[in-house]
Structure formats: structure tokens, C-alpha cells
Amino acid sequence: MFEQITQTLLAALSHLLYASLNKLVPLAGVGGSVEAMETVPPQIVVNGLIFLGLLGVVFGIALAIVASKFVVKVDPKVEQVRETLPGANCGACGFAGCMGYAEAVVGNPDVAPNLCAPGKAPVANKIAQITGKAAAAVEPKIARVFCQGGRSRSQRKFLYTGVMDCTAAVLAAGGDKSCEFGCLGYATCMRACPFDAITMSGDSLPVISKEKCTACGKCVAACPKQVIELAQMSKSVVISCHSRDKGVDVKKKCQVGCIACGMCVRTCPVDAIKIDNNLARIDHGKCITCGLCVKKCPTNAIHDYLAPRLRAFIDPAKCAGIDVCAKVCPVNAISGDLRAVHAVDQGKCIGCGMCEARCPKKAITLVQASTAPEKPAAKEMVSA
């Protein structure tokens, strides 16, 4: 029955093709190995149809078998994690791209969920949720440039006219800058940044955008002078100099270098600064970012990224007069009797935030200096 139907169908089909092709299609020079003939025998057409059909069926079945036999089970969590990740493939996590990290974090219980630097806390939390791992806090980091000696403030050894790239310039006697620890200013870091977070200032120094920088570390690796380092975002006071030359030499080469005079060491209220190899370094574990050293530094080598500084303001309604704030204040800006409402001298306050951190009543807030509500505070003082 079935055979009969197929036979009649085939016969009808070939007849139809024969009839139509012979009249309608110009058949000379079909191309390929079919020699130019007046007519194409319908057998070839039928063969072609059968062959192509068979080929399709065979390939289809073969691919289906291969797909089912060599199926790779992918944990759906991997896909979820990969979608959560920013997808920049920056490699800051230490794995080969976002996919590599996603697989490692799902497959390996020892891989922490907070390794994605660009993703920061939200991504770490989501990954922890997906993988069921404990989310540790991600300390936001940022790349910091340890040089302030731009073209106008530093000396050059010679005129460099080669390839405009730091890695190339450093090959010519360590670069054209007199200070061998400073930024050459040929923007290799800017080109290395996958997030466009680095721009070059008019003085040929890299400026890192606080909003765009993800602390992936590409610029750190790209800089041939190791001028860029990753640092905690919250530690805003930085000695922006890497020079280990003697003070006299630094003075000759650069106007804003650290001359290791020791002023900052003496000023620091928490002994966080030490001089080592003619260079002052801040121990960021101890530093309270009070900013006192910034003001004292004779060469302005210390940079405060927290500008404009905020001012402390004590809410009189909450203040219980415990006096802790007055004791911790490094500049003695807070005054007031025990068990009476305290006040901040806005002229002295440097906005370091130490009192805010210490106040057990949470009575102190940091506000913008210009909008600090000084007058209401004074009124409350009178009434109190």
C-alpha cells in the first residue's frame, strides 16, 4: 500500500518536473560538472532532490546523536552567575574572564563570591545568594596615582620624540623625566583602562574617575613605572609620590615630591606615617584620614582626595555631653562641659569624622561645609 503510493507520487512528480523543466527552464550551461546540454534528464533532478534530502536527514540524525551522546551538563547556577557579572572580562578576579570566574565560583567551594572588583558589593551579594556562600564585605578600592609632578612642575632630562607610549619611552634611558620614580605621562594607563576611567590632565598626568574606576588593576599592570597602586577608596589621604631620592635631589627635579622632611610624621595624631628610604608612607590600617598632614606638608606632596572636606555638626537634641568627641578630636575643635551639649568650632574642624565614628549617641553628622547649619546650633546652645 505504502510502496504503491510512493511509487505513484514519484512517478507523478518526475512527470511534472519533466514537463515543466523541459519547457520553462533554460538548460544550457547549468554550471559545474553538468556539461552544457540542451535538456537536463529528469533523473538528475530527482537524484539531486533525493541526495540533498538524504544528506539533510543523515546530517540531522548524526548531529542529534552527537548532541545527545556528548551532552555537557551545565550547572544552571553558572549561567545565573555569569548573567550577574558585569561581563567586562577584565580578569581582576584572577580567572580567565567572567565565564571562568562563574564556573570556578559555582564549582569550587573555596572560591570566594566577592572577587569581582568591578561588580562591587551588589554583585558579590547576588553571587553569594546563588551559590549559597557567605558574603564577605567588599572593601571598595580605587586606583591611585602616586605622582603629582606633571610637565609644569617637574624637570625633563632630554627631549623624547619616540613612540608616544610609556612602555616605549621607558626603554630610552628610563624615560625622559628627571625623577625616575614619576609618571612619564604618555597615557599607557589610559589606553589600558577597559572602563574609560582614566583621562589625561592638561599637565600630562592621569586622572582617575572615582565613579568609573572598578579597581580591576589593568592600569597597575600596564604602568612601567609602577606609579599606580590599588588602594582602599575610603583612605583618601595619600602621599602622592614614589621618589626615594634624597630630599635635595627631589627638590631639584620636582616641585611636589616628598623630601622626607618628617613634618607629616610629627603631625600625625595616630602615628600612621613612617619615613622609609627617603619616602614617607602612610600605614592605611592606622590612618584616620584626618587630613592634618595634607596642610602641613611643605611641598604639597600629600594629596587629599576627599575634597571638599565636610564639617562635623552635633545634633543638640541627641548630645548627652559624654565628652568622647572632644577627646578624640585631633584638632581640638569640639568644646563643651561634661554632661552639657557640645559644639564644633567650624573654623577648626577638618571633617575627619573621628568624632562621628566614636559618638555612642550618634549625635554627630558630617555635612557640607557651606550648608552646615551653624545658626540653629548656636540657638540651641543658648536655650540649653
Partner: protein, 194 residues
Amino acid sequence: MWEKLLTIFIASMLINNFVFARYLGLCIFFGVTKKMETAVGMSFTFTAVMMIGAALSWLIYNYVMIPFQLGFLKIVIFIGVVAAFVQAADTIMKKVTPALYYKLGIYLALIVTNCIILAVPLINAEEHYSLFESLALALGSGLGFSLALIIMASIREKLELADVPKSFQGLPISFVLTGLIALAFLGFSGMITL
């Protein structure tokens, strides 16, 4: 016989280099030559796929298509054969050698739509090559393409640092370079005379 194999091999690699003499496969050529690493990965994958694809196409052409007088379907069939083979290779590689898959897997998908992969079986069919001659052509073309990729990648890595006028940056200067290398490759013509 060896002489002919060698002739085909050298001719397809240098004299009739697919990129510099026939101007085929340019999209992949410009796509993967930005970095040496991708260029080398592509070279390996490409040569391997080219050899196997040419052998498969030769078998189907000589044992099925010629007896049934279906030579005029060459283009359609060869595309289908290569695509199916690459798809299967992709799936098998993923399971059997995941490491190799992550290194070279991304290039497989690119190769399916490459014109050199199609051109080699077509030339084999046109010239009525034997199986070994087809393989020699495939190997020669694969190595020739690899040579082109590696030459271009090493130049483009240097080009990153060059001071190129703005309107010529990127693809335009790469085309100019390709033209210059093609001129150099003209020097190979006439190296072998039959």
C-alpha cells in the same frame, strides 16, 4: 607523484596564498589579527578544519556526486558538509577535551562562514584532484592562511604604537598594509613553472 603533491602544497601556501593572492577570507583575517594569541589559535583550528573538511568533501564528491551527475550542487553540498562537520566537532570537543574547547572553540563558529573553507573543496573538485592532492592543497592553504595571520598580527601589534593619522586608524591602515604584503607575495609568482 611526490613532485606534484609538493607543487600543490607550495603553490597554495605561497604563490596562490588565499589572502594575499586571491583576496579570500578577509573578514576572519582582519577580525582575529588584532592579537598574536588569537591569530595563532585561529591558525591551528583553521588548518585542522580545512584538512578534515577537504577530505570529507572529496569523499562525498567522488563517490556520490560524480556517479549521480550532481556536480552542479557543489556549493550547496560543500557548505552543508563543512557546517555539519564543524557543528559536530564543536559538540564533541566540548565533551572530550574541554581545555582545548575553551582555547580554540570560539574560532570554530567563525570558520563555518569562511570562504577559504569553501574554496578549497571547490578547487579540488574543479581540478579533479586525488585524495592526497586534495589534502596537500588543504594543508598548504591552511598553512598559507596561518602565515598570513601571523605576519599580520605581528605587524598590527606594532601598529598599536604607531602614530597613524586619525582617518587611517584601525581597519583602513590594515588594508593598506595587506596591500603592501600582497605586493611582496607577488614575488613568489613564477617560482614554480610546470
